[in-house]
Amino acid sequence: MNRRWWYWLLVIPFAATLVPPIYARMDPQLFGFPFFYWYQILWIALSAAIVFFVYAQTRGRGHE
């Protein structure tokens, strides 16, 4: 498979974090945090993981 396709994964964080109707709510709560907060915090980590994954899949093609 063309390794360029992996770059499309980078769209996911945009879709997950730029649509407040998904997460602008109180419940379910986690450790006292309303959903609004822990969902967005979770996406900081998930987005970093996606970026790292894409980096690992595409490195060595003229970037190193």
Binding site: R4, Y7, L10, V11, P13, F14, T17, L18, V19, P20, P21, A24, R25, M26, Q29, F31, G32, F33, P34, F36, Y37, Q40, I41, W43, I44, A45, S47, A48, A49, I50, V51, F52, V54, Y55, T58, R59, R61, G62, H63, E64
Partner: protein, 500 residues
């Protein structure tokens, strides 16, 4: 003098020594612009992580974001999606910009625009926008410092705070002059260590004393709902679009500020940038918890008129005096690092792109480092005047405008790397339209970043910077389609051939 004030003074003096010592760090005589302004393009993953972290997450950010949470609730947390999506975006775009800059020897975004479009006027537009957006940003760093200084007890009166600021600023200017970008790069290590320490301590101590996060959110909700301008900890439906357009617009703008570009270009390879896009989100996590400290301040019953004082007040109340000194030092040093990088970034634009009298197509002689160094002093002096002699509100309004302005160079700088058919005259017209529209919208909403767009009976509140970008793109796109473009051949020569 309290122990906190002594700790603060010692730490600030310590980083000053470090700033001067940085001139001798990691080889290379500082005799070319690349050495002074970009540290010789030699920084690896770790140095770049600290440098960009110190650059993107400034003292003002650490004061203003929790202040907004303290005053306006959920809306402040647009900073979270903003600093989440900035990285997948930069992963693609800034890695490519780094590669082009390395190949063609660019030091600024305007260098690229000049080379790519062969247009002196577009280059000037981009450079002037960069400088105009940066000056108030530096001034705000100073204002952030001042609120901390007054609270710390080191400079309780406004006169002594001014004196301290002046001394800190002269020293900052001096080591920026001698060491260039290496000074903030080295100091960033200290700054970030202190910031992480402070936030770790704050999270270990404060929530437990306030009865846990559940109780904090609950009392923050009560306090916000009872305020004269009520708000909530959960984003209300009318603010959805404002929230996401602010996050999106800010994310696109983040990496085209001159100081960010300076830090990006100082990396030794595109891979360093790409790796950092996976590592820098750790700072976003930090920023989120700092923003939540705004709620802690509400829950702790801290009531201040100037919301910028909420966090210093919180630290002073919950930390022992000496550790409050560490926390305040983190903020003061957190102001010095970006101020130095911003001054260098603005000086680069002045020296390389504004003060050129040559024809646009001639081969240019290299900029004298001496010129850029003196310009950096001038930029810092200008920001100092802005911060001290003009009301702080002016800097805040001006910086807000700066955010709407800087996004208007996005089509030329970022789309210019990918879109072959863009015409420089169309881009200039789009820039002018975006600038006018952004300025008007921000001013019309009495210097708020959110503009209520009326369409018939419907009202859509969104980020002014985002609306202005749409106008810009519409003008630049449609004119590019009509005009016979002059710059496709340049695109073919410069921008084709490398991956993503």
């Amino acid at each position: 003098m309290s122990s906190g004030a002594i700790v603060l003074a010692i730490l600030v003096l310590g980083v000053t020594v470090l700033g001067f010592a940085a001139a001798r760090w990691s080889g290379g005589a500082i005799n070319s612009l690349e050495e002074w302004a970009l540290g010789g393009r030699r920084f690896g993953t770790v140095v770049t992580w600290f440098l960009l972290g110190g650059d993107l997450y400034t003292a003002y950010t650490f004061i203003a974001v929790p202040a907004l949470a303290y005053g306006a609730g959920a809306l402040a947390f647009f900073a979270v999606p903003y600093t989440t999506i900035a990285y997948p975006f930069a992963f693609i775009v800034m890695a490519r910009f780094w590669t082009l800059a390395k190949q063609r020897g660019y030091v600024t975004t305007a260098d690229f625009v000049h080379d790519r479009f062969g247009s002196r006027s577009l280059e000037l537009a981009v450079a002037l926008t960069g400088v105009a957006a940066t000056m108030p940003y530096i001034a705000l760093q100073l204002i952030g410092m001042r609120s901390v200084l007054q609270r710390s007890g080191l400079a309780p009166t406004s006169e002594s705070a001014l004196l301290f600021l002046a001394v800190a600023f002269v020293l900052l200017a001096a080591y920026t002059f001698t060491s260039g970008l290496r000074a903030p790069a080295l100091i960033a290590f200290v700054k970030d260590t202190l910031i992480y320490l402070t936030v770790a301590a704050a999270l270990a101590i404060i929530p437990a004393k306030l009865g846990g996060w559940g109780a904090i959110f609950l009392s923050a909700q009560h306090a916000l709902a009872a305020a004269p301008k009520p708000s909530s900890i959960i984003l209300p439906q009318p603010l959805y679009f404002a929230y996401s357009s602010l996050a999106f617009g800010s994310a696109l703008a983040l990496f085209i500020y001159p100081h960010t570009v300076t830090s990006v270009l100082s990396a030794k390879s595109a891979a360093v940038i790409r790796r950092n896009c996976a590592l820098l989100p750790l700072y976003s996590l930090l920023l989120t918890f700092i923003a939540l400290l705004g709620y802690c301040a509400l829950a702790a019953g801290i009531r201040v008129k100037d919301t910028n004082l909420a966090i210093p007040e919180l630290f002073a109340r919950f930390f022992p005096s000496w550790f409050a000194g560490v926390a305040f030092a983190a903020i003061v040093i957190g102001a010095l690092v970006p101020a130095a990088i911003m001054a260098i970034g603005a000086a680069n634009l002045f020296a390389s792109n504004i003060l050129r009298t040559f024809e646009s197509r001639t081969v240019r002689p290299p900029v004298e480092t001496r010129v850029a160094r003196y310009l950096a002093l001038l930029v810092l002096a200008g920001a100092f005047v802005l911060a001290v002699f003009i009301r702080p509100d002016f800097s805040i309004d001006f910086q807000l405008l700066g955010g709407a302005w800087i996004l208007q160079i996005f089509p030329a700088v970022i789309l210019g790397m990918y879109a072959r058919r863009l015409d420089p005259r169309a881009l200039l017209a789009g820039w002018a339209a975006g600038m006018a529209c952004g300025t008007w919208m921000v001013a019309a909403s009495s210097f708020k970043s959110i503009f209520a767009l009326h369409a018939g009976n419907a009202v859509l509140a969104g980020a002014a910077m985002f609306y202005a970008l749409l106008v810009n793109l519409a003008v630049a796109g449609s004119l590019s389609a009509v005009l016979r473009d002059r710059a496709s051949a340049r695109f073919d020569a410069i921008c084709t051939g490398e991956p993503a």
